[in-house]
Symmetry: D2
Subunit: 341 residues, 4 copies
Amino acid sequence: MSSHQKLTGIFTPNLVPLDSRGDINEPELRRYVDWLIERGVHGLYPNGSTGEFTRFTVEERRRIIEIVADQTRNRVPILAGAAEANVKETLKACEYYHSLGVRAVAIVAPFYYKLSPASVYAYFAEIGKHTPIDVTLYNIPLFASPIDVPTVQRLADNFERIVAIKDSSGDIPHMIRMIQAVRPHRPEFAFLTGWDAALMPLLLIGCDGGTNATSGVVPEITRKLYDLTMAGRLEEARQVQYDLLTLFDTMIYSAEFPEGFRAAVELRGFHMGTGRQPLSAEQRTDLSALSNTLQCLLSAQGFTDQPVGGCPVSKQPAVDHEEVGQIVQNVLAELKRRGLA
Amino acid sequence: MSSHQKLTGIFTPNLVPLDSRGDINEPELRRYVDWLIERGVHGLYPNGSTGEFTRFTVEERRRIIEIVADQTRNRVPILAGAAEANVKETLKACEYYHSLGVRAVAIVAPFYYKLSPASVYAYFAEIGKHTPIDVTLYNIPLFASPIDVPTVQRLADNFERIVAIKDSSGDIPHMIRMIQAVRPHRPEFAFLTGWDAALMPLLLIGCDGGTNATSGVVPEITRKLYDLTMAGRLEEARQVQYDLLTLFDTMIYSAEFPEGFRAAVELRGFHMGTGRQPLSAEQRTDLSALSNTLQCLLSAQGFTDQPVGGCPVSKQPAVDHEEVGQIVQNVLAELKRRGLA
Amino acid sequence: MSSHQKLTGIFTPNLVPLDSRGDINEPELRRYVDWLIERGVHGLYPNGSTGEFTRFTVEERRRIIEIVADQTRNRVPILAGAAEANVKETLKACEYYHSLGVRAVAIVAPFYYKLSPASVYAYFAEIGKHTPIDVTLYNIPLFASPIDVPTVQRLADNFERIVAIKDSSGDIPHMIRMIQAVRPHRPEFAFLTGWDAALMPLLLIGCDGGTNATSGVVPEITRKLYDLTMAGRLEEARQVQYDLLTLFDTMIYSAEFPEGFRAAVELRGFHMGTGRQPLSAEQRTDLSALSNTLQCLLSAQGFTDQPVGGCPVSKQPAVDHEEVGQIVQNVLAELKRRGLA
Amino acid sequence: MSSHQKLTGIFTPNLVPLDSRGDINEPELRRYVDWLIERGVHGLYPNGSTGEFTRFTVEERRRIIEIVADQTRNRVPILAGAAEANVKETLKACEYYHSLGVRAVAIVAPFYYKLSPASVYAYFAEIGKHTPIDVTLYNIPLFASPIDVPTVQRLADNFERIVAIKDSSGDIPHMIRMIQAVRPHRPEFAFLTGWDAALMPLLLIGCDGGTNATSGVVPEITRKLYDLTMAGRLEEARQVQYDLLTLFDTMIYSAEFPEGFRAAVELRGFHMGTGRQPLSAEQRTDLSALSNTLQCLLSAQGFTDQPVGGCPVSKQPAVDHEEVGQIVQNVLAELKRRGLA
């Protein structure tokens, strides 16, 4: 059994600021880490999906953890993303991050290939046997092989070093099934959600916390939602959840993930640089429009000034829905005709 | 604006008992209606998906509403499923059910063909314009064309006879988006969920009630979950939600829908007859095993005796998970090889 | 064993012209039947998906078969869509269509509910046991429960009245697996494809024919593609397949199915009336634009005059692809944000 | 315009033999390269999906190309998989492989994150601008972001170094649409299919060749299918395609990809070692059963002896289909109940 405390609260899956050459901007990353901790996040989660771990080299991923660990100086626990090309390389990362003093690692299920439950189990079992550091399973079926309920149960039953799951499916009955399957025998096993859009209801049905991308942008709000919900102040929590959903939807659906989050962190005063995935001219224009929308949302919450030109009075855009529906239909038809999936 | 009260609480999407010739068993249906009302459901919802509306003829669907309305005698409101082959036929059903005094109709989005939002809007707009009775939209993307958020908003904005939506997607952020889009201008518009697996969290984020198939089997429990949740007794509610999920999963995933529910209602003392979808010999054997499991779940809740032979001590089956995972993998491979889906 | 000949060649899944009141336009339907037969289609297939069978009443579906059978006067075989609300009603339709002298019925797998292979088998087994007329299985996984390879094999092995499958999945390996599983024991069992987009390659790997919606619009071309392919004139066939794909894509993806086909049949000189699924003003405008495009495609093949205003010189539209891609991205993001599945 | 010849014929996406420590088995890889070339494959394709490129380190991927290039000694062209963590790293790989004298690189669309067409275009545009070596786009929508038809067209129009697409979707109309969009302006652009299950029909509608995993196991058969098809000997080709499909299905669906192919190459006489993705005890048992089945299939074609114990007389297994269907239904229900997506 791990001697450590259960993982609870809000862990920020932080982005990595880049400099003008596209390399890690170390001073800005350090400044961002301090800013997040000062605003009350319970922990940090570098090398997650929001942190674009797949777009860095092995060496860069290690450097990111070094910087974050050094800057954090144990003020909050760190959950370090540690997935590498195969079990052997992943275990090397576990060992190294352990030597840096992080609280635990988070390991996404194998991706690219879509593996069966038996293979996902075999993969994590091999890691569970040899890891020197606590492991959080990371289930994100949109991007990687799913980790199903019996697999979580077996891993929890057999490997005490496996101490938590971060689930980004947002599926509430799935979360309940996992809790029912694991908690009776492993009361200290932690259930974290990565789906900000349903953070309040997931906490209410039994989750211990979340690794929420919004907390990298508005740590004050995500933390407030957590506190209100845990205190049972449901009316207030519900309104914060509604607002957080609007912000989350804007960031996640209006640009290629995680560019919307990058744009929003920039608005909070950090130089994020240009992302590693190239963007077209049109995408760059869009991102600038999104930035305006985000600034209005953030200024409505008191976090920034309104953009030059001001903000619309109402949050509800004056959209002609039939027109939008029509455009959508045409474009979908065109998409299909041209052979998109 | 409708002069009626907002639709709230638990509406039972009731099954239809059949007799030995496969026809509607009227006395048993009347007895079932009384039983449900006596156990506290807030309303009835005949001709829903659980009620297998597509497997009855036009004449039978009308007869079902006649019987339920006559037997209910206004003790509780009735939501009558009214979808027919096209707009003209559906409007005829609306008119007839109106003449029978039901509270409202529920109309599923067009199915078989997968329609775009523009077409779904056009379909409901035509109905909204001419219906003499309040209409509940019915969104069940698993079976029918989806009704998206802007479509719900436009229909709510333009047609006062459209007074509610029943959503069976179980998607919580989707429900929040609908509530945000509609409630400011139509505070009396009702949001009902058809997904029992997340009833508690959906009520907590703002739903007004549910049309829940479990309430046809254990009306006492579904009603209790509703009452505890609305009273803010969250610890107790959470445990009831967990138990209800176990029961729901067993009924919905262990047999062809809605045969599991039919078997469970039989255990509560009703003669349900043989369903209209033929079953293989193996499926019939399975259903009998499911019936045993359900009887144990129901007896654990005090609703029936244990089955002959007793029940396992623990709810957790002694399953060798790796073995199950392995079987699953083999079967899926076989499935694919043989060309399924 | 059926005394009839194997089903081969091109069967037209014909649309139903409607009059100004939205009822079946009998004289126009008769004229359309003659026109199709004169242009060389091998058979007719009323009450298919293209024929919008779900949007007619039981009585109307019967009337459609009566008219088509009467007008055809045995010049070509008729495959009559016979799916009704349940097995009993479907068998009644089989009996009636048998009495009208049609060659066979086609029965789609149960829809709305998504059934397992065991249930799909049980459904067709019940029909196979009692049908007085040859049955074609109809697999269209986009709209109805899939009929997998072992189910087709078992049905073919056990019921001699089941004599063919119409498969609209367009999946070539799936078609090969079915042929490998069934043909050795049932050499007269027919394999028909409903996917015009791959008609040539499907014929080349072993299909016997097709039920192709394009043959209701350009029977001359679909028939020509069939003849060239069967004669092994592959270079010519390939070019016709390419052209047919362009036409098919335009009709199927530029409007709600089957409105594009309806518009195209209108261009061939038939009064089709207004479809039963309501359209928005924008959809009607779109349909009129589509009609123009179709007229150009048809005039390029010599079937009609060019529309007033002429046609573009090249078939390749002068599209700014990045712009289109951008619109698409925006709209998809908007779609997701608004909660469309 | 590239000075090289168009890419045509069968390229083998070869597996990498591992030694007892799990490292690259260089002598066996060299022996395997010779064996493939001697059996007539037109080219080699190391670091593809079959070659498990994601499970090797950056350094190992480079070593694999070094070995294959050195051993091939220009006897056949090499298509080298070159995808790395981001554009900069991918371009470094392009440069290095260019220095080794390979014919072209193949680059899969970005994976893990699911990118929009605009982003996929921007990614390949950046590569197309700076690559010193010909590039083959690699579309495998099952594993990576899809490359849609207008994106292929724009890339082909704008970057002469982009000379081919390898498409593993198996979607025939999609392939036709790509050919229609690109070939008029870029007649030397090559269309290769990665979907062995439909190789013959894809060649017949216009493909130039394939990168087919079966050619790493039975190069004689895949090559024969190519030759028969290109020669228009359709009857013979069809039978070979049928047999190849049976073999392909067995390898791809009976074990975690690409373990079935690894087992089959072992049967052809190579020491493949243990794959890098851990397997459970049950999976290892299964693989051994699969190996037996494969040996029977290969011996039926004359490539190996029958396994000890012999082979079944007929290829059709004596399966009770209803029983299988039943097991499947039960397992799927269990799967869903336990929360597997």
